[in-house]
């Protein structure tokens, strides 16, 4: 078990959204305010961790032919639990995310991790995998939310900051106004902004990964030359 490596994989080199390119529907749909993004990210993190633990715990007794059906039932169970908890304790978040909370059931990240990782690994490793992959997902959501909110309406942290200060509990707070709203490009908070922001983010990621790969290549080459 290599926690440090798993951490790096989940957050950067094998990030679910930016590198594995899965679970994009919700990513584009709900990243309009930081409140939504953090709420969605944490919900997925919790569900992913629970599912990973359960799937890896029973991985030896699941018949191979019907494993997908079993995964779906386990995931749907945890999603229902989180959905009901959110409805009871944070109704504002439940309203804002709407149909996308139950839709976590068909989010490829969770079934993908169950299939690709938990089937072959121990409970402990799967637990940390769930946490780090969930964190990687949350990180992407936060980056997208901050960008879209700032460009779209000139604000930062809508809802979340007020929630932390205890002013409003409904996630509608204005957050910090960085520049006047009239100068914002409100199109960034619409679907157009969702597609564009994710496209740009993945492009930046590909650029960075290529650059670091090139650097490593150069380094290896230099070492080779020195050896010779």
């Amino acid at each position: 078990m290599n926690i440090k490596k798993q951490f790096k994989e989940g957050l950067i080199t094998n990030n679910p959204v930016l590198v594995q390119l899965i679970g994009m529907c919700a990513t584009m749909a709900i990243t309009t305010t930081l409140f939504n993004g953090v709420g969605m990210g944490l919900s997925v993190l919790i569900i992913l961790t629970c599912c990973n633990v359960v799937v890896s715990a029973i991985r030896k007794i699941i018949p191979n032919e019907i494993r997908l059906a079993i995964f779906v039932v386990i995931i749907a169970g945890f999603v229902t639990i989180v959905d009901l908890l959110l409805k009871a304790y944070i109704p504002a978040l439940s309203d804002a995310l709407g149909v996308f909370i139950p839709l976590i059931v068909v989010n490829c990240i969770i079934i993908g991790r169950a299939e690709a990782f938990c089937q072959k690994n121990t409970v402990g490793a799967s637990f940390f995998d769930g946490i780090f992959q969930g964190l990687g997902y949350t990180l992407v959501l936060i980056v997208m939310c901050v960008f879209r909110e700032l460009v779209g309406s000139g604000r930062f942290g809508g809802g979340l900051i007020d929630l932390a200060k205890g002013i409003t509990m409904d996630g509608t707070g204005a957050g910090i106004q960085i520049f006047p709203e009239t100068y914002g490009a409100s199109i960034m908070t619409l679907p157009f902004g969702g597609f564009l922001t994710l496209g740009l983010l993945i492009a930046v990621m590909q650029y960075a990964l290529k650059k670091s790969a090139k650097k490593q290549e150069l380094k290896a080459q230099e070492e080779k030359e020195v050896e010779e």
Binding site: C25, A26, M28, A69, L103, V105, L196, L198, G199
Partner: protein
């Protein structure tokens, strides 16, 4: 009644298009849109499954879950119905229309995890649609999906021959062009029917 149906269909196809304004079904939208033919096949399969799933899930919700006060099981019940339905459709097509079955190939089982299908069923419940409205919403939502994916596939076929920055290769350039298509569909958003 008729105006209601018309407004639901126009809404699902153009104004609240499943892909471009609700972000439902983005994975197959990006994954199966490299060629117009596969995109059309995928679109047809989704129309079929979405229509059928809307009808069956409405019946199950109304006469089983609501009647027995088991509404909290909705998500679980619906995903199982959809999975079983897709499996059934696959078996039926394999037996009776093998040509369509082979054309759809791997995309058929993948419809289970298409969030547009589960999404339309959940939205039917959320909007309190009756049986006919649910059915119409399912079919026209699928048609909206098909319109989007076919349009996007024809755009993508052209992207292949165009010149773009290296780091935009693959998904990013597709997402940017999808953004432009979403911009075009935004033109419908001001429309109001009846």
């Amino acid at each position: 009644m008729l105006t209601n149906i018309i407004s639901i269909s126009l809404g699902a196809i153009l104004i609240n298009n499943f892909i471009f304004s609700q972000f439902l079904g983005c994975c197959p939208f990006l994954g199966c849109s490299s060629k117009v033919e596969t995109a059309t096949g995928m679109g047809l399969a989704v129309v079929f499954v979405m229509g059928l799933a809307s009808a069956i899930c409405w019946v199950i919700n109304e006469y089983l879950l609501v009647a027995l006060h088991l509404e909290f099981l909705q998500t679980l019940a619906f995903i199982l119905v959809i999975a079983a339905l897709v499996q059934f459709v696959e078996m039926f097509l394999k037996k009776s229309v093998p040509s369509l079955y082979s054309a759809l190939g791997i995309y058929l089982p993948l419809i289970t995890t298409n969030c547009a299908v589960l999404g339309v069923v959940l939205l039917n419940v959320q909007n309190n649609y009756n049986f006919l409205e649910s059915l119409v919403y399912g079919i026209t939502g699928g048609l909206g999906f098909m319109l989007a994916i076919v349009l996007f596939a024809s755009v993508r076929e052209r992207i292949e021959f165009s010149d773009y920055p290296e780091c935009f290769e693959g998904f990013p350039i597709c997402l940017v062009s999808a953004a432009l298509l979403a911009l075009a569909f935004m033109g419908f958003s001001g429309m109001k029917i009846f």
